[in-house]
């Protein structure tokens, strides 16, 4: 299975361009879609899941074209949206059973077995008879991924899956995703939480303002930031000064001052040393220096989000 995005454009009524000539190829395995809020990740995923149409361009799932072969493509898809809740008055197993039925699993008994197996897999078997909307946040996410993967879809699209989860649940969720990615399927993970991608994805793409800005492995992205991440020890007075000059990634108070990490092309003042970058550092470096795009896009993002609804 391969996904090929060809010249994909999406213009919303009102003229807002959400995707601009996007070209991308996705191979089996876990694929990360990274980008700030409003970068076009959700639009891309909604087009991929056939929840909305593109303005031009297309996406191929192998040879299936989203403009023509919707039934075939839908039968390959599993999807977990970002803001996903449940019907009231459906039990955990029933919700999964509903999804399994729609995924084409026939026969009550067979479907029951598949559902139970899936519940065990995501650790929800014990709560199978609990109302789905009474589950905890982590359980709900697990149930969400369970319904997305039931029926063995070849493409699983997961939007911001770990937002709001505690570290334990986040790890548990990542592990579930990792288990699935062993098979010959594509898992597309859209997130702005860089840690999710660094720990699971072999490849990633960075979207910004509807355009593809980077495509490659996490290591390739990290390499770009090597020698650009610094650890500095500063006093409180210096800290105020340095905050104006560089993007600060972390701040740790110590005796007599602060130990901070910043991204910068070069640092000559202060007491500093270069440290080994991670994906988060690379992302910040990429956004602030290579794209010259500050991360304070909050206002625009809000506006975009409203358009997307």
């Amino acid at each position: 299975m391969r996904i090929k995005i060809v010249n994909l454009n999406k213009v919303y009524p009102g003229g807002k361009k959400a995707l601009k000539d996007l070209n991308l190829e996705i191979e089996p395995g876990m694929f990360g879609l990274l980008g700030p809020n409003g970068a076009g990740k959700t639009t891309l995923m909604r087009i991929m899941t056939l929840l909305q149409s593109s303005t031009s361009g297309t996406i191929f799932f192998d040879d299936y074209d989203i403009a023509k072969d919707r039934k075939a493509i839908r039968s390959m898809l599993g999807y977990l949206p970002q803001d996903f809740r449940f019907f009231e008055k459906l039990k955990t197993w029933e919700f999964l059973d509903y999804g399994a039925g729609l995924a084409g699993i026939k026969g009550k008994q067979h479907r029951g077995e598949v559902v139970d197996e899936m519940l065990r897999k995501v650790g929800l078997f014990e709560v199978r008879d609990r109302w789905a909307n009474k589950l905890s946040g982590g359980m709900k996410r697990r149930l969400g991924i369970a319904q997305a993967i039931i029926g063995n879809p070849k493409v699983i699209i997961v939007d911001e899956p770990t937002t709001g989860l505690d570290p334990e649940e986040r790890i548990r969720f990542r592990n579930i995703l990792s288990d699935i990615s062993d098979k010959d399927s594509i898992i597309i993970l859209s997130t702005h939480i860089v840690g999710d991608i660094s720990s699971t994805c072999k490849k990633l793409a960075l979207l910004n303002r509807g355009e593809l800005k980077f495509e490659g492995s996490p290591d390739e992205m990290i390499d770009l930031a090597r020698g650009k991440v610094w650890e500095i020890f500063v006093t409180d007075q210096e800290y105020e000064d340095i905050k104006e000059k560089y993007p600060i990634i972390s701040t740790i108070p110590t005796d007599g001052g602060l130990e901070i990490q910043v991204v910068a092309e070069n640092i000559e003042e202060y007491s500093h040393k270069a440290i080994e970058p991670n994906l988060e550092h690379a992302y910040v470096y990429y956004m602030d220096y290579l794209l010259k795009d500050k991360m304070n896009m909050q206002v625009e993002a809000i506006q975009e989000n409203e358009l997307f609804k």
């Binding site: 839908r74 949206p81 809740r85 509903y98 026939k106």
Partner: protein
């Protein structure tokens, strides 16, 4: 579409719906309401049911589905809006939408899920109804209607309302707006759309006849199913559009075009069904119009009289084959070249011969124009053979479309449908109305209904091979082989034929053979009367004798047949005829299982009577036979001997939510008086064609039901008052051609005019002489059509006065008089050592037309009322018939009447006058004065009694000085549905008095010639009534208020009542004073003093507050009087 997907979606939609609290609450509430309604009105648990609500086996399932249908539609529109919204709101749709099902799978699955839940609930409701039906009701049980109504009534409505709601929700995308629009649509259908174009737009099918006859099955199957398919297909079409409008990419880009195309096709099929349904009635309209034109075309052609007709009838399924031999006579004074015959337009004439030779003829719809020359008074014989089916559209062409298409029985929700003739394997019914045999006079004149000729003919009828079925017709019955024959003893106005699977019961009463034919299995009544068989003949004889004494006629036919007909057999009482087609000479056609007849639930009647008897402290009847006989008597009186029958009317839903009095009296279709009068005699007048029916109506009148007459005095505008009001501006001649007048109002007008004619005659000759003359005349010319000139000539010979001196003005006068009556009193007078009483009063007719008053004095201290006194009053009136006095235009008269006994009540009936109510009543107190004047009769009166007296000023609620002050201007639901032509005066509404000042009339109120008052429910005091006047002579005046005898002390609210007060404020020279006056209960009626006050010259007023002393008290504003007492300050 993928069945697996649909099934999955529907399964979970069902689950979600069943678990929704909203739905659960709805389900429980609906079931409770339906069960409560059915237990109350259709079970025998409380005994509140009406027989008409349970007589037919389909009644209980129909009512169940009828109510459920409305309830489910309301919740369905809510759910329809919420299911789309629910998915969108929770983002849940996205995980569903990415699944590989099609949009069609999704919407169909959702819809099917909702339908499954509602159908399950519907089945639960039906099972409960079935339990009530079998274990707690007397309704005969049939299973099929349960399935039929579920499939044809409930499901199409649900599909339609879901489709419409989905489409609307998809377009509007706002659940609240969708809900409100749909709720408005449902309300509009219930209150208005249902009645448009015979239910074409009524998706509930509430207005489409939909009941089963046990004999024939569904009474209106094809139109009903066509109507249901309309909404089923349109609903399915709308669902297709919904699929195309779902906010999800279709599986194939062009699929939405296909879906819209399919939606259009299905919707067009549905609309096509709707058009078929509509065109059924459109076709009827066209046919009725065509046939009316044909009658009109030949209206002025000379007709021949049909003397004799021998009919030979056979039937093959729905086709009849008839040969008729006719003997006709040309009674015109000139030769005619064509003989006109009238025959049902669907019957094809095969041959027309005379003396063995073919007669050439032309067919023009129902008219056969035969080329045959007949000289004056020449007689000819024709033989005519024809066959075919019966076109019912020829029937009742004179009936207005509104009435013709109205299928409602009162305000009942059960509609039985309307058929006017049947030619079926199971049942045949043919009456003269459908022209099943040739006649020479048209049976109806749609252009001028009263201008109709009655043709008495001697009939004979042979029916071949009825195949085990019983044949009913007029005349002497005989049977030879497989041929049943009837030969009429006397000439009749028409002949009817009924063939059915009947069983017969018969009894001879006073040499009249009484025969009862009910369909096999429909004898629900015999078991209720096990004890009457020995005494039944004598008992019926008593009833017959008493009735005939009251009518002054003997039953004119040798037999009296009661025959059951399918429940859909319909007819109308027509004033020009005096009866309905249910009533034929010798035969009354009764509805199936007596479903629509009053007092026909004999079991319940006997039970109720026994309960009353047990609870009667004076000790009631104990013998079963007495209960049974009383039940039979009540039935006969209500069904056959009553000219009117009470019927609730209006829109069932408006009535349910308003407190308006919506009942009315309808003319009784089964009143047998026409057998004694209209079917036995006929008087023809070319100039005054209505004279026949007026005389018959006049002759069959007896003193009206005393209870009803008494009630009418207090109950606003009755039909009689409406008729009287009509005649003050228009003439009787105009009324005859006025289609806008209701049957009932016109009937009252005929009664008034007939009575007026009688009163005019009996003001010159005695009532006994007139009655005897008419009785002798009727006997002499029984079963003949007689010219009015002959009647008048015989009248002149006997009484030496010419009716034609009066009748032209009686017919054309277009104003009415009014009478003001004053100084009613009685004195003792001694004549030949006997103490007698002289009743006298002054009457003034200020108008320019003469009028007649009829005066009746009740004697012996008897006080009339509704309880027990009715018969006594009727008996008194029989012994002392009212005295009639002509009061000339602008004349003052004094009337003096001598009574043997102490007078108790005086009733002055103003006949046709502007007086409201038409009766003036006076209760005499103890007589204390004496006189020596013994002259009686009518004398010149004094104008002084009627002159204005500045020392006694009266302001009535009808006067200019009176006004009401209303604070509450809001409209009620009832006022939204108020008819434009509603009467000014309303019935006194005891149970729910109006919140606004409302005018009412009654003899208990003060008035010159309109005895009226304004009344309302007690309020906070913000609404007032005000009497204003000008004082001309300053001084002390005693101020009186007219305290109207309140109904509650006379009728229902007897026993201990809390005292009630009304609060008046008198404005006088020293300020204002509030005076409370006790009202209702045991308070005195008439003028009651508010006190004595000093008034200077100028304006003054008395104000009545609506605050009252009790909640829901009546506040009545009538009249105030200022009486000058002295000038000492």
């Amino acid at each position: 579409m993928n069945i697996h997907n649909i099934s999955t979606i529907s399964r979970y939609e069902t689950k979600l719906l069943r678990r929704s609290w909203l739905f659960r609450i709805f389900a429980v509430l609906s079931l409770l309401i339906i069960v409560f309604f059915q237990i109350s009105l259709q079970s025998n648990i409380f005994g509140w049911y009406r027989w008409s609500m349970i007589a037919m086996p389909s009644s209980i399932p129909f009512v169940n589905i009828y109510l459920f249908n409305i309830a489910q539609s309301i919740i369905a529109i809510f759910l329809a809006g919420s299911f789309l919204k629910r998915d969108q709101k929770l983002d849940t749709a996205e995980v569903i939408y990415v699944r590989p099902m099609s949009n069609a799978d999704y919407i169909v699955g959702k819809t099917w899920g909702i339908i499954r839940v509602f159908v399950s609930l519907n089945i639960i409701a039906l099972v409960i109804a079935g339990f009530i039906h079998v274990f707690a009701s007397d309704s005969p049980f049939a299973f099929f209607p349960y399935i039929f109504y579920l499939l044809t009534l409930s499901i199409p409505s649900l599909v339609f309302i879901l489709g419409l709601s989905f489409v609307l929700m998809s377009l509007v995308r706002n659940q609240a707006v969708t809900f409100i629009i749909m709720l408005g649509f449902i309300g509009g259908t219930l209150l208005y759309l249902g009645g448009v174009e015979q239910g074409t737009f009524d998706f509930f099918a509430l207005t489409v006849p939909n009941m089963f006859s046990e004999v024939l099955g569904h009474t209106n199957l094809t139109p009903y199913l066509t109507q249901r398919f309309t909404f089923l297909f349109v609903g399915m079409g709308l669902l297709s559009f919904t699929i195309a409008m779902v906010n999800r990419l279709p599986l194939h880009p062009r699929k939405n075009i296909l879906l819209n195309g399919v939606g259009c096709i299905i919707t067009i099929v549905g609309l096509g069904c709707g058009y078929l349904y509509y065109s059924t009635y459109h076709h009827i309209d066209n046919q009725r119009h065509l046939y009316s034109e044909k009658y009109q075309k030949y209206n002025t052609s000379d007709k021949v009289n049909l003397l004799n007709e021998n009919i030979t009838y056979s039937q093959n399924s729905k086709e009849i084959m008839v040969t008729a031999e006719l003997t006709v006579q040309n009674r015109n004074h000139k030769t005619i070249n064509t003989v006109l015959l009238y025959l049902n337009p669907s019957l094809k004439v095969e041959k027309l011969t005379s003396k063995g030779e073919d007669v050439s003829f032309e067919r023009d719809a129902q008219v056969i124009v035969a080329d045959y020359k007949l000289r004056p008074y020449e007689i000819a014989e024709f033989q005519i053979s024809y066959k075919g089916t019966i076109d019912e559209n020829i029937c009742y062409l004179d009936i207005t479309d509104e009435e013709y298409y109205d299928t409602q029985n009162g305000n009942s929700i059960l509609r039985f449908g309307k058929n006017y003739a049947y030619v079926l394997d199971k049942f045949t019914l043919l009456t003269p109305e459908c022209l099943w045999y040739p006649t020479t006079f048209p049976p109806v004149n749609p252009e001028a209904p009263y201008n109709i000729r009655k043709n008495f003919t001697t009939f004979s009828l042979k029916v071949y091979n009825p195949e085990e079925r019983t044949v009913l017709s007029q005349g002497t019955f005989s049977q030879t082989g497989d041929t049943t024959s009837f030969a009429s003893v006397d000439p009749l106005l028409g002949i009817s034929l009924a063939i059915g699977d009947y069983e017969k019961k018969s009894i001879t009463v006073d040499s009249v053979q009484i025969e009862l034919y009910n369909f096999k299995g429909h004898d629900y009544f015999s078991k209720e009367f096990p004890n009457v068989s020995d005494t039944l003949a004598d008992f019926l004889l008593d009833i017959k004798t008493e009735y005939e004494m009251r009518k002054g006629r003997k039953y004119p036919f040798p037999k009296f047949v009661l025959a059951e007909t399918p429940v859909s057999y319909a007819g109308y009482v027509r004033n020009w005829k005096g009866n309905s087609e249910q009533l034929q000479p010798e035969i009354v056609f009764l509805p199936e299982l007596a479903a629509t007849l009053p007092r026909s639930d004999f079991k319940a009647s006997i039970k109720r009577m026994k309960e009353w008897s047990r609870n009667d402290p004076r000790g009631g009847m104990t013998e079963d036979v007495n209960f049974e006989m009383n039940t039979i008597r009540d039935f006969i009186r209500s069904v056959f001997q009553s000219e009117e029958t009470y019927q609730e009317e209006g829109n069932s839903f408006v009535n349910m939510f308003t407190s308006g009095w919506s009942g009315t009296s309808k003319l009784n279709k089964y009143d047998i008086s026409s057998m004694y009068f209209n079917y036995a005699n006929s008087i023809y007048s070319q100039d005054f064609p209505i004279i026949d029916i007026v005389i018959n109506t006049m002759l069959k009148q007896e003193e009206s039901n005393p209870m009803r007459r008494w009630w009418r005095m207090f109950s606003g505008m009755g039909d009689s008052q409406r008729a009287s009001a009509y005649l003050n501006g228009k003439s009787f001649e105009q009324a005859v051609l006025d289609n806008s007048l209701s049957t009932e109002v016109f009937y009252e007008m005929m009664k008034l005019k007939g009575l007026y004619l009688r009163n005019y005659i009996t003001s010159r000759i005695s009532s006994e002489d007139f009655t005897k003359f008419m009785s002798d005349f009727s006997k002499k010319y029984k079963f003949q059509e007689v010219n009015f000139t002959r009647l008048n000539n015989e009248f002149i010979r006997k009484f030496h006065f010419n009716l034609m001196d009066f009748i032209p003005s009686w017919y054309t006068i277009n104003t009415t008089p009014l009478f003001i009556v004053k100084r009613i009193d009685a004195d003792e007078v001694t004549i030949d050592e006997y103490t007698k009483y002289m009743v006298h009063f002054q009457v003034y007719n200020p108008t320019n037309v003469d009028g007649i008053i009829s005066v009746n004095v009740e004697q012996g201290g008897f006080r009339s009322g509704p309880r027990g006194g009715g018969r006594g009053r009727a008996a008194q009136m029989e012994a002392n018939p009212p005295k009639n006095f002509v009061i000339g235009a602008r004349s003052y008269k004094q009337i003096k009447i001598l009574c043997d006994d102490r007078p108790s009540n005086l009733t002055i009936n103003t006949n046709i006058a502007q007086n409201l109510p038409s009766d003036i009543m006076y209760n005499f107190p103890k007589v204390t004065t004496t006189t020596t004047d013994t002259t009686t009769g009518i004398f010149e009166g004094s104008s002084a009694a009627f002159a204005f007296n500045p020392k006694e000023i009266i302001v009535d609620n009808e006067d200019k000085g009176f006004r009401v002050i209303e604070s509450n201007q809001k409209n009620t639901l009832q006022s939204l549905f108020k008819k434009e032509d509603e009467d000014k005066y309303k019935n006194l509404n005891f149970w729910s008095p109006p919140s606004k000042w409302t005018a009412t009339v009654g003899t208990n109120y003060y008035g010159d010639y309109i005895n009226s008052a304004m009344y309302k429910k007690s309020g906070s005091g913000n609404n007032q009534a005000e009497w204003n006047t000008q004082i001309q002579i300053p001084g002390f005046y005693e101020v009186f208020v007219y305290n109207s005898a309140n109904m509650d002390r006379m009728m229902w609210r007897q026993g201990e009542q809390p005292k009630k007060y009304q609060y008046y404020i008198v404005k006088h020279d020293d300020g204002e004073e509030e005076v409370s006056i006790e009202t209702g209960g045991r308070s005195p009626s008439g003028w009651v003093s508010l006190g004595s006050f000093y008034f200077s010259k100028g304006d003054t007023k008395v104000t009545l507050s609506d605050k009252g002393s009790e909640p829901r008290q009546f506040i009545i504003a009538d009249a105030i009087k200022w009486v000058y007492t002295s000038n000492n300050k």
